[in-house]
Amino acid sequence: MANPTSADVVVIGSGVCGAMVAHQAVQAGLSVLILEAGPRGERGDYWQRFMNLPAANRAHGDMQSPFPQSPYAPFPMFGNDDYLILKGRDPDAFRQGYLRVVGGTTWHWSGLCWRHLPVDLRLKSTYGVGRDWPVSYGDLEPYYVKAETEMGVSGPSNALEHSPSQRSAPYVMESIAYGTADRRFSEVATRAGYKCVHIPQAKNSQPFDGRPACCGSNSCMPICPIGALYNGMVHVNKALAGGATLIDQAVVYRIDTDAKNRVTAVHYYDRNKQSQRVTGRAFVIAANGIETPRLLLYAANSSNPRGIANSSDQVGRNMMDHPGLHMGCVTKEPMWTGHGPVQQSSIVDFRDGPFRSDYSANRIMMNNQSMATAAGVTALAMGLVGKRLDAEIRRRAACTLDFSIGFEILPEPENRLRLSAERKDALGIPHPEVTYDVGDYVRKGGDKVRPTLLHIASLLEATEVKITDKYNANNHVMGGAIMGRNPNDSVVDADCRTHDHDNLYIAGGATMPTASCINSTLSMVAVSLMMADRLKQAMKT
């Protein structure tokens, strides 16, 4: 059957945000075409490729290699990646590991479903830094509930563990039980006076929505073997069941506009490198925080010479993530990480406070990923043999802990994605190039948190305490097409409709004006669902 060449709504990108929007649109009776640059794969194949990874890749957290690339839609690979070009003061702090495959990067996410705090959306007016969102937490809250319901978020019923406390509905299901390490850490931290909470996450603590309960594989990143962890495929499949059409390996590269600057069509290269054209009444770009601005810039036309939706020159600016630090240590008593999901507990005392006018908020999370493989690789690298080798592997597997600390970077126009002038992909499209500096706001936040981290290590009677001194990326790409009321300093309005093109919308992290310090996916989905409602309303008129 020939691929369709027209639809009411054309969605570019099949990750969780694009899939959610597509599903909402088909439910409203609209015809929907999804164009995905990457290939469609199957869970079993991805899982097998993960299980066949060499030990060093497993030990060092290779989340990319299980997912094969299309030759025409490259994405950053583990190892010597040359796709995402990074420059500036902190290039490694933006070394992202996103995927271009059907279903998107939620194939290998941790599933954490934090909400922004209400004050996170009023950062400028409250603390004098960053930006305010053009919508309030009250506007967004119903969509947080909807996002949690669609994804099946498990979370604590105990209101004292809610962060934020402002919720209009309970979690869909109770949290998954802590394993031994999270249990021990939360006990120690709570006893010392920290607020340590059970992180809400899109993993089933009971069968839900046709998917099974978590089986504790401890491989959420890079692949849940059974689908207990939500990913974008759930809503891709729901959209397809509702009548949407998906074309994979379809790389959109050109956007046509008419005299009123409405988008009339997009062009894509198919899997045979043949150019195809698709028309629509409305278009949604949901292609990840990096690929969305890359496309908008590359698709510049004679009416929009700086790029589509870029009259403000803000496309590609304000690139954000959660700059991270890690603390590794070896505890006195065995903790045995690796039971249950990979991330479960977090200290949230430092998500907010007056200090935010001066330095970054943070969240301190214990990683519950199994240390078994890393322990073996580390002990072997020490040159040990025999009984000493066996004992050291066991000690390190049982007692090694890793803490991930995430910080809130401010939206800065100079943290910017451009089209590379040096390298092009197999279709001749320039690689994305990002200039990045985490900024003094984050660096000061990093300095401030170190005594707290050392205190936590002391509570666990830990040795070999090492806190990284360079910031790492966390794959929570935000910015590049941020929302705002002023068309001169933002790309989309409060409905996530571009200021420049009244039938072009953007879904996902690219639109978020501030990052908070917690994982971004739930907020990305909530904003996308809000956008979908506005889109549906606009399509009625």
């Binding site: 060499p54 060093a56 597997a397």
Partner: protein
């Protein structure tokens, strides 16, 4: 964050299956006196098979000594030996030397052997052999090659307190009240 310095050779499921079949065939060939006898006419082939069998036996004998495990999977051993030989042209000779050292009676265990060969070219080969058995991975020409996961020797060491990520551990929340195994309570290997 981990250093991004590792390149990967991934074995696809079909290829892994084919490799398993090839390994089984080789093992059968080397283990079967009937097959070996029937192939005895071509002298070069017979010599090659005999050499391979001898090299395999030496490798397995040395591996038992080097790992301290009384029982090792010969099929995995054949795969590891092939990968180790591909990674280092001098590995086969080093195995001969190390096997001679191990059977000389001079060393009572691998700790003694390791100390005895430290500073010699044999030392790197010994550690490579041990690393291969423990991780199921061999470095070949600067690239890491997956050979095995479930039989890698590092995992039974922590079987009472953890498991191989990617495999299901049990019903949801079954980990909710697990005890914390003591470090001293090493599982039987």
């Amino acid at each position: 964050m981990p250093p991004n310095t590792h390149s990967v050779i991934l074995i696809q499921p079909d290829e892994a299956k084919a490799q398993t079949q090839r390994r089984k065939l080789l093992a059968l060939l080397l283990a079967s006196p009937v097959l070996s006898a029937s192939w005895a006419a071509p002298m070069a082939q017979a010599a090659g098979a005999a050499d391979a069998a001898t090299a395999g036996e030496k490798f397995m004998t040395l591996s038992v000594f080097a790992t301290g495990r009384s029982k090792l999977d010969p099929e995995l051993g054949a795969s590891l030996l092939a990968a180790l030989r591909a990674s280092d042209a001098s590995f086969a000779a080093a195995v001969d030397d190390l096997a001679a050292d191990a059977s000389s009676g001079k060393y009572s265990d691998v700790e003694g052997l390791e100390a005895g060969v430290r500073g010699t070219p044999k030392h790197a080969a010994l550690l490579a052999l041990i690393s291969a058995w423990y991780t199921g991975t061999v470095s070949v020409n600067g690239q890491t090659r997956f050979v095995a996961l479930g039989n890698a020797l590092m995992y039974p060491l922590i079987a009472d307190g953890s498991h191989i990520p990617g495999n299901c551990a049990g019903a949801v929340d079954s980990w909710g009240n697990l005890p914390l195994p003591a470090l001293s309570a090493m599982p039987p290997l």
